[in-house]
């Protein structure tokens, strides 16, 4: 019996791919013919359509860039936002294409490409904006207000930076939860401008705060710069991808993808004006 258990464990171990810390190279990806990519469930940055295919700013650009590199197939995984970096580190996929903001903290964990998009912040509230909110700092002024954020998203940092207390913050798992959350458990949902606008289009009883003032952190209004994340050890793959991405950013096809998801010309220009090294250094 003991032996049977041991055999079972041995059989399981055989099916396990034992991967050390060796890097994944472009050649390996090319000979495999496909690459594993991941995105979070967030319209319009990255999401899965009802037919199971991936769409959104991140996946669409990634598919185009990989095509330039001669890789015609990307196998997409959709995973909760907060598990993108853990999944990357656990070698579940080669890149995360979810327009994650390139922040110094994340740069310590993963290797980002040059920015692919830029976006400001937004607030989703009940229809009519009963609490008359116009920016994140309004929430800090009234300790009885609650604000929802998605687990793992950086909006929580901006809320904290303008003085919102942790007991005012309601953590939710996915964007789709925001609609019912702002009806009941929270007075507002803090997310990016585009996320909020897509949610406001879809929900009848909610609206996007307009005009909205971006929170001021360290003396300047915050702006997020979304990039693709790779594992630091896959430097060669990341560099090849990055070079192709920078080339692709110069084309009209690129702009077409971004504008089709509602990104403005100014946001596209702002993204190209920044570079990843400065963003990782917190500049």
């Amino acid at each position: 019996m003991h032996n049977t258990i041991r055999c079972g464990i041995a059989a399981l171990a055989l099916t396990a791919a034992v991967g050390g810390a060796q890097a994944l190279t472009l050649d390996e990806v090319k000979s495999a013919g496909y690459v594993q990519g991941a995105t979070a469930n967030e319209v319009p940055y990255g999401y899965m359509k009802e037919d199971g295919s991936a769409a959104g700013i991140g996946p669409d650009v990634a598919i185009a860039v990989f095509k330039k590199l001669g890789i015609n197939e990307v196998n997409w995984t959709v995973t909760p936002f907060g598990t993108l970096i853990p999944g990357l580190k656990a070698r579940r996929f080669a890149l995360a294409a979810a327009e994650q903001n390139i922040s110094p903290e994340r740069c310590k964990q993963v290797s980002f490409t040059e920015p692919n998009s830029s976006y400001g912040e937004g607030l989703l509230v009940k229809k009519g904006n009963p609490k008359k909110l116009t920016t994140y700092a309004d929430i800090a002024k009234d300790p009885s207000l609650k604000v929802a954020v998605v687990s793992g998203a950086n909006n929580i940092d901006f809320l904290r930076a303008v003085g919102v207390k942790d007991n005012q913050i309601v953590i939710i798992q996915a964007n789709a939860d925001a609609l019912s959350t702002v009806q009941t458990r929270a007075d507002a949902y803090a997310a990016t401008e585009l996320t909020v606008s897509k949610l406001a289009e879809g929900g009848k009883d909610v609206e996007q705060v307009k005009p909205f003032t971006d929170p001021i952190v360290d003396g300047k209004p915050v702006r997020n710069y979304g990039g693709f994340a790779f594992r630091p050890e896959d430097k060669e793959l990341r560099d090849a991808y990055n070079t192709a991405l920078v080339e692709f950013r110069k084309t009209d096809d690129y702009k077409k993808i971004l504008t089709s998801y509602g990104l403005s010309e100014e946001s596209i220009k702002a993204a190209m004006a920044k570079n990843v090294a400065d963003l990782c250094a917190g500049k």
Binding site: H2, Y47, G52, T77, T83, A90
Partner: protein
């Protein structure tokens, strides 16, 4: 999108849910018998291993087990694909709970029968196989039925390690349509229908086993 358009993706997810549930119930049952019988062994090493296994898997939450196997284990160099991880962890959990069912049912066989078997010079294996097990297995069925349904419902957690099961498909649909009420209601109905099917299968197996028993015994004979 209307509710009829949700059906196709939800059905696709339901297939994965059924596959994962049936596979992990099968593996879990094997583990349950191995560990349950091992727990009654007089060899301290065998019963010790089974005891630690049952203790660990009964004593920790399934979600954390899944995350540990999916996100933590690869950091020390061992990686299974999502489906394998999901089936493995669910099997181990179901096996741990099932082991206690098996052990309990075996221990409920009156001691006098063991003595009688020994008087007739039955080996330990023969006693187990011909005396204890045929009686115990019928007693296990209602508890196994519970575990099987519990297993089905637990499969919903594998959606969090990126397996496209029924819950995962529901979350994806909700993300693009924002129609939580309809989608969650349909998802509940989906699980309920699968659970009904599962209960029918268990009933069928139990009825078969009872018919095969020469002397259907009462609970406290």
């Amino acid at each position: 999108m209307t509710w009829t358009q949700y059906l196709a993706p939800l059905m696709k997810g339901a297939q994965i849910t059924v596959m994962i549930s049936l596979t992990s119930i099968a593996f879990g049952t094997v583990l349950a018998f191995l560990a349950g019988i091992a727990r009654t062994s007089s060899n301290p090493i065998i019963s010790g291993i089974a005891f630690v296994y049952v203790l660990l898997f009964r004593g920790t939450p399934l979600l954390v087990q899944l995350f540990w196997f999916y996100y933590a284990l690869p950091l020390i160099g061992v990686s299974f694909d999502p489906i394998t991880t999901g089936i493995m962890v669910l099997s181990l959990l179901t096996g741990a709970f099932g082991a206690e069912v098996v052990r309990g049912a075996l221990m409920a066989v009156p001691q006098a029968q063991h003595e009688a078997a020994r008087a007739l010079n039955f080996s330990k294996f023969h006693t187990l196989w011909h005396i204890s097990m045929p009686q115990a297995i019928i007693e296990m069925m209602p508890a196994f039925g519970n575990l099987a349904v519990q297993n089905l419902k637990d499969t919903a957690l594998v959606s969090l390690i990126s397996i496209a099961d029924l819950t995962f498909q529901a979350q994806s649909l909700r993300n693009i349509t924002l129609d939580s009420a309809t989608i969650y209601t349909m998802t509940l109905a989906g699980y309920f229908i699968i659970a009904l099917g599962l209960m029918l299968i268990i009933r069928f197996i139990e009825a078969k086993l009872r018919r095969g028993a020469a002397f259907p015994r009462s609970a406290h004979s």
